[in-house]
Symmetry: none
Subunit: 194 residues, 4 copies
DNA sequence: CATGAATGAGTCTTCATTCAT
DNA sequence: AATGAATGAAGACTCATTCAT
């Protein structure tokens, strides 16, 4: 059964791809970006890493895509489970904050990888993040608690400040404060914090 | 005469120090951090760079300090020349925005340099930035246009979002939008954009 | 039916062999000698290349043989179509010159492949070339325009200088000059050496 | 004494340069061209080799220059010590032949190094060789034993056939044969071509 | 027979760091 | 103090070769 064997091999290859990606995510996140180290860590030869990701850029970009995907895929659930305001605040303080605190290394790597060819991936990821933010903002607009002209892009940028949280401090409180500041900034009618 | 040549030597040394720092600022900012390259660029031997900055971290930290100092020293002038709200907005959109857009490379270097020993310098720089932000926020509080309980630390974090401006886009407009969002967030009584 | 499919497979195999050889000739000639690259270029898997040519040396040698065969098989035609002197000059300036100019890369590869095991192939190729040269020289001897004791091996070596033609210069003229120099050297009534 | 120390260091550096060049000549000649291997062989760190020869091309070219220089510097002596004809024959069979037989590897390396930037060095070397050949040919012309219109460039190319001598055979005899063939070709009163 | 993913040894290349002068 | 040549560890990258399917 040719089909059987081939798909079996494909499955193996796919598993390698995923494992490398996972290991790389951890490494890059920790500021370590060495193909040799990643290969060893993933238990494969360097050549295999190169086969799957021909370039550092390719690897970094793939990791970035993966992270953004993870970050974004929780949004619909939050919007179903909570009223819009809580959904926004929860996403910011629980998901975004934790993410940005942990993945700082990725930013640096990403910057180095930002060649011309990376443009598409970067643009896609940006748009994905923006879509998520928009969904949250718009739900709040529809609920009448946020200005109709609140700009999701600006809100997203404001949340970018979560990057500077101090993991050794009371970061959750700090995140709540920032989310609150931004919330007030886009709220329908003046300050109204709890 | 001895004094003369000694002080002459001191002047030379000082000049070396400054030139190295200036060159390093440019290099690091551009994502390039090689002692050999910096030395050549500054027109001195590698050994000289090592004499002035015994480790990479020391150099990065020194550059960081210098940048923060530059960034902060304009604040008093702004507060004298403009009403508080304009001072805040101007600092954010003209100084901070331009700075963050340009010096992204420094962030990466800084992160790598953030060992235990660097703590003090980092803490100092953080406090310096915080003082500047506080001065601006408090002037606005005193003018009655900003809530008395607005937290400068949170505001500073919010402005951190300026890091993500796109130098190739309409970044000034984007910066104004973010400054406005944060301003509304800390304003005394609800939204009131111009 | 079995016979049919078997011979069908044989035809496929043969086609593979030829295509690989052709692709390899181009690659090696261009100084590129990578099994993986050749396989991709030929549209087959690496394994297939290995099946046909178990080692690099085997491949290089096979390519060499092929080139020499091509180079030599025009000689009888030239001798039929032209008087002996012209046949010699034409072969040298039109065939040999063009060949040597183009295939320099092969020489390098060949040298690296010259292990003990390669001896036979090399010797065969040498003899083949020598036979061709001999045929041309002897035709001229029979025509009485070349010394009876002219040594084909030495003549062949002299033509080896065509390797250094400059493809970007007036190489045809240069080739004619060299052919002429050698021709004079073997002509029937030149000066006798001491 | 600053001068003393500096020149001392310079001497050391110079010694390194020479040793690397010598080792590289041997390696390349033997078809081996690895910076790491050369460094180890020369007893220096890889970095040192890179400091002296920033590129493979630079190294190969330097070696080539050195070889050509050695080859050429014997010519004036030969012309003083012997009558022109013998000088020519001796250079060809004793110096050129031995050189070309030994240094085949260099040719291959040279070819790979022939980028645009290498042009000057290559042109210089070519001219140097040509000058040497010209000196020999012209001495013979002046002695009246060689045609006045014998072209040194063509003669040089003819001698290029010495590349194919077989070190395991009677190469000296073969070299004499080739030198003789070329000599006859350029001798004063041979047959004129049609 | 053919395929091509995986492997890993071998090179290349850069750069922080030392140290003799 | 300053210099810059030397060092060599570390990481990038290629490619011959194997082998399960």
């Amino acid at each position: 059964m040719t089909t059987g064997s081939v798909s079996h091999r494909r499955a193996d290859t796919r598993r390698n791809h995923d494992r490398i990606l996972a290991v790389a995510a951890e490494s890059i996140t920790a500021g370590e970006l060495s193909f040799n180290a990643i290969a060893k860590q993933a238990g494969v030869g360097v050549g295999t890493v190169y086969r799957h990701f021909p370039t550092q850029d390719a690897l970094v970009l793939a990791v970035y895509e993966r992270e953004v995907r993870h970050l974004v895929e929780v949004v619909p659930g939050l919007l179903e489970a909570h009223p819009p305001e809580l959904a926004f605040r929860t996403w910011a303080t629980d998901h975004l904050a934790r993410y940005m605190m942990t993945k700082r290394g990725l930013g640096a790597a990403l910057q180095a990888a930002s060649t011309a060819a990376a443009g598409d991936v970067l643009a896609d990821a940006y748009r994905t993040m923006l879509d998520a933010t928009s969904a949250l903002v718009e739900a709040n607009v529809r609920a009448g608690v946020v200005r109709a002209d609140a700009d999701p892009e600006t809100v997203m940028r404001g949340l970018g400040g979560l990057l500077y949280l101090d993991p050794d401090g009371d970061w959750h409180r700090d995140a709540e404060n920032l989310a609150d500041l931004i919330w007030r900034g886009m709220a329908a009618d003046g300050p109204r914090s709890p």
